[in-house]
């Protein structure tokens, strides 16, 4: 190992670490991505200077083709299609690891140290599973394959069988590295297992699956690093493997599911209203999301309702508002004439919290403003923002003037559940695309937001 190359790789690793660190926080994410790009560039250039590399033409061609395709996809893809793109890219990464393992195997044709052959088998297996698994995930998200979970009877049994077979073949190959058929069998098993692994999982759970596969592709890269005794591959692979694992855990938590439940769960779709159509799916957003939206906003309108009184969240709410105002955000309260359970209920509450009267606007005073507002933060209100009062003649609310919170760019709603308010009418605003539902007691939710905005 040439000393310069080693040190350059070290520098690259450090940049990768810093990049990853920055990627995890909203404020620095973009810089993080750029750091990681730089790191990658250094790693590539350094590798090209290695004297193991004899033939550049093919490499250059490969790089150009790959870059072109990658850039075109990245540029053309619709923002809504990003998840499947990530899946696709991820599959390619895994596939590349597997290919490298195969190439190296071919290069040394059987003359392999035990640790190298172990690494090869691992790299091949994980890389391939990642490859096909990701492709299936891509297909499901892109609508090429039926998104619903595909379950058949002996599935779990088959999985176990195949996995056992892999273990046996793996041992055989490791004992006798020259057994190339064994390696091909492993390849085949991995191809199938990847498909079987993802098929039974429903579209809604795909993000978690992709994250898991992402972690795997990191591990595959690390295994490739073991094959090549290349530290940067090991470090980056391990980084991605570990952080991908953590990310998967975080995502599971956000969905209130466990990973085991997602992978082996009887039915793989999350849907709060099972009896309703697909549109009525609700994502559990968190206070972090709300705080990101609030922080990025220029104009915010707060709509308090009866739930604010029940939660006694007025003090917390006002603290949040003061914080936002101090951050230069334009914040107002919109008070619906019948919010709460008695005339002036909201006024009593907000007066307790010493909210300046100048921040309070009544329906006429503010209803035109929602459409210019970045975030409408609804705290324990329901009927007073129910759009069915405008449109649905059957609704008991029909004819009651409502606050046009639905016209805001983003609507953040804090309440404990999807249950209706005083009038007992369901609220379609909860299912609107630009709505973030934050479930929980309003006071707790607001307090969490305060905490998050402080840091």
């Amino acid at each position: 190992m040439n000393i310069i190359i080693a040190l350059a790789y070290l520098l690259s690793s450090i940049l990768f670490i810093l990049g990853l660190k920055n990627l995890g926080s909203p404020k620095t994410a973009r810089r993080g991505n750029q750091l990681a790009m730089t790191a990658m560039l250094i790693a590539i250039i350094v590798t090209l200077t290695k004297n193991e590399i004899l033939d550049f033409t093919l490499i250059i061609i490969g790089l150009i083709i790959g870059s072109a395709i990658g850039a075109i996809i990245a540029r053309k893809v619709q923002m809504t299609a990003v998840p499947q793109m990530v899946a696709l890219f991820n599959g390619l990464g895994g596939g590349a690891s597997a290919l490298v393992a195969l190439a190296e195997y071919n290069r040394f044709s059987g003359d392999l140290r035990i640790d190298v052959i172990i690494s090869m088998v691992v790299s091949l297996f994980i890389g391939t599973v990642t490859f096909t698994g990701s492709l299936v995930a891509f297909g499901k998200l892109q609508g090429l394959i039926r998104s619903a979970p595909v379950v058949f009877k002996a599935q779990r049994f088959l999985n176990i069988l195949l996995f056992t077979l892999f273990l046996i073949m793996g041992i055989i190959v490791i004992i006798n590295p020259a057994n190339s058929t064994g390696l091909l069998i492993i390849l085949a098993i991995a191809l199938i297992l990847g498909i079987l692994f993802v098929m039974p999982i429903g579209g809604a759970d795909m993000p978690v699956v992709i994250s898991t596969l992402n972690s795997c592709s990191g591990l595959a890269a690390a295994a490739t690093g073991f094959v090549l005794s290349n530290n940067i591959l090991i470090i980056c692979g391990a980084l991605v493997g570990a952080s991908g694992f953590i990310l998967t855990r975080i995502m599971c938590k956000a969905m209130n599911r466990s990973l085991v439940n997602i992978i082996f769960g009887p039915v793989g779709t999350v849907s709060v209203n099972n009896n309703n159509n697909d549109k009525r799916k609700v994502i559990n957003y968190t206070e972090e999301d709300a705080s990101i939206m609030l922080e990025a906003a220029k104009k915010v309108i707060i709509v308090p309702g009866y739930g604010l009184a029940v939660a006694q969240a007025q003090f917390a709410l006002q603290e949040l508002v003061t914080m936002l105002i101090n951050k230069g955000i334009h914040v107002r309260y919109a008070i619906h004439p019948v919010a709460g359970r008695m005339p002036g209920h909201m006024n009593v509450l907000l007066a307790e919290a010493n909210v300046s009267y100048d921040l309070l606007f009544d329906l006429n005073g503010i209803n035109g403003e929602f459409k210019n507002t970045d975030v409408a933060l609804i705290v324990g209100a329901n009927d007073v923002i129910n759009p069915s009062a405008r449109t649905n003649k059957e609704s008991p609310l029909y004819g009651m003037p409502i606050l046009n919170a639905d016209q805001a760019k983003t609507v953040v709603i804090c309440k404990r559940s999807l249950s209706p308010g005083f009038s007992g009418v369901d609220n379609e605003l909860f299912y609107q695309e630009n709505t973030l539902m934050i479930f929980g007691d309003a006071k707790e939710s607001i307090n969490k937001m305060i905490q998050l905005l402080k840091t």
């Binding site: 008695m342 005339p343 609310l397």
Partner: protein, 380 residues
């Protein structure tokens, strides 16, 4: 249409049915507004303000009545007012306390179309016309101020160099609109507040205002379909009085608001219970109009008995004339707009709100509820 606002002649009435701000709106809607001179004086809306809003000030009451199509009033018409009304006029105002045989006779003789504000159904879209709610809010607020005025104690807790003054304790019986407002106001002033009601839904509402709810084995269906409280059995009432009796002796102020729609108010506080109260305590009986929740309440009077002051105040909203007029005026305007919301400004008796609130029309009683009540009265 030509809308007229005569001066209220009911004794002690300080409100006016329309305030200048609403005059402007009605005129913008394409109506004409006539107002009797001095109608707003007692609520500090002087003639000049109406003039600025382009209302026509009419000096003579009779002249006013003869000019107009629609009368906006608060208190039900008295005999002398009937006499001035033109045949076929529309009348809007509170009516429920005046529904006597004589009233119907006079109304129908003159083919007056009358609407009772009390009969507007309490549904989501009528909340802006709901004068019962807006006036009850005022009553609840004033009840607490009056209690604070009569009580020889601070409402809030004060820990001072001259000793610690414990907070006043306030009991609110009946946590409807007025009761809730009373709770909120008393809490604002720093009192310890507890409340009781027969409807179980109220517990959460009371607690959302920071007051204690007094638990009692409640009857499951204490609420009618329209959200009002049902009349209770005598057995239940006995139990309720026991529980309230325990609490009245502990509290310095008792505010009662228990009412049953269209019935005499239930007696919740007996003279026995008053005797057991602390000297200097105050009872504000908001149900005085319906006879009172306290046995010894004398409607319209403040009496002091057994060391306790018992206020049987009537027409509390009128003691806050400025805002009471503003609110009522908005309610009646919204209601009027709804009634004549069709293109051709004809009443639509298919409409639920119009139908429920109309009492007499074209010489007949048209209100189901009233008809039922009359039949029932005739039977007994």
């Amino acid at each position: 249409m030509k809308i007229g606002i005569p001066k209220e002649i009911y004794e002690g009435e300080k409100r006016v049915a329309i305030v200048p701000k609403m005059v402007t709106q009605l005129i913008n809607d394409g109506h004409e507004v006539f107002i009797e001179t001095g109608a707003g004086d007692k609520s500090y809306f002087v003639d000049a303000k109406y003039e600025r809003a382009n209302a026509v000030i009419v000096k003579d009451k009779q002249l006013l009545y003869s000019e107009i199509d629609v009368i906006f009033k608060i208190q039900p018409p008295q005999r002398e007012e009937f006499e001035m009304m033109k045949d076929g006029t529309t009348y809007i105002g509170f009516l429920s306390s005046a529904l006597t045989a004589e009233f119907f006779k006079l109304m129908n003789e003159r083919y007056i179309t009358s609407f009772a504000m009390e009969f507007i159904p309490r549904i989501s879209r009528t909340q802006s016309m709901d004068a019962l709610s807006s006036m009850a809010s005022i009553a609840g607020y004033r009840a607490v101020l009056t209690a604070a005025q009569y009580l020889g104690k601070f409402f809030p807790l004060l820990m001072t160099a001259a000793g610690t003054i414990p907070p006043a304790k306030v009991l609110v019986v009946g946590a409807g609109v007025a009761g809730l407002q009373a709770i909120a106001t008393a809490r604002r002033l720093g009192a310890r507040v507890e409340a009781f009601d027969t409807r179980p839904a109220v517990k959460e509402q009371v607690e959302s205002l920071g007051a204690q709810f007094i638990e009692m084995e409640l009857v499951a269906d204490a609420e009618t379909t329209t959200g009002y409280a049902k009349e209770m059995t005598e057995e239940f009432m006995k139990k309720e009085r026991e529980i309230i009796g325990d609490r009245t002796a502990q509290n310095h102020v008792v505010i009662t608001t228990a009412q049953l729609f269209g019935k005499k108010a239930p007696i919740l506080i007996t003279e026995e219970m008053v005797k057991k109260m602390q000297e200097g305590s105050v009872i504000i009986d908001l149900a005085a109009e319906q006879g009172g929740n306290c046995e010894i309440t004398e409607p319209g009077k403040n009496i002091c008995k057994h060391g306790v002051t018992i206020c049987g105040l009537l027409n509390l909203p009128s003691t806050l004339p400025i805002d009471a007029s503003s609110m009522y005026s908005r309610n009646i305007t919204q209601f009027f707009r709804h009634l004549y919301s069709t293109e051709d400004r004809k009443l639509d008796f298919e409409d639920k709100i119009t139908k429920s609130s109309c009492v007499t029309h074209n010489g007949e009683i048209v209100n189901d509820y009233v008809i039922k009540a009359i039949r029932k009265g005739a039977n007994t």
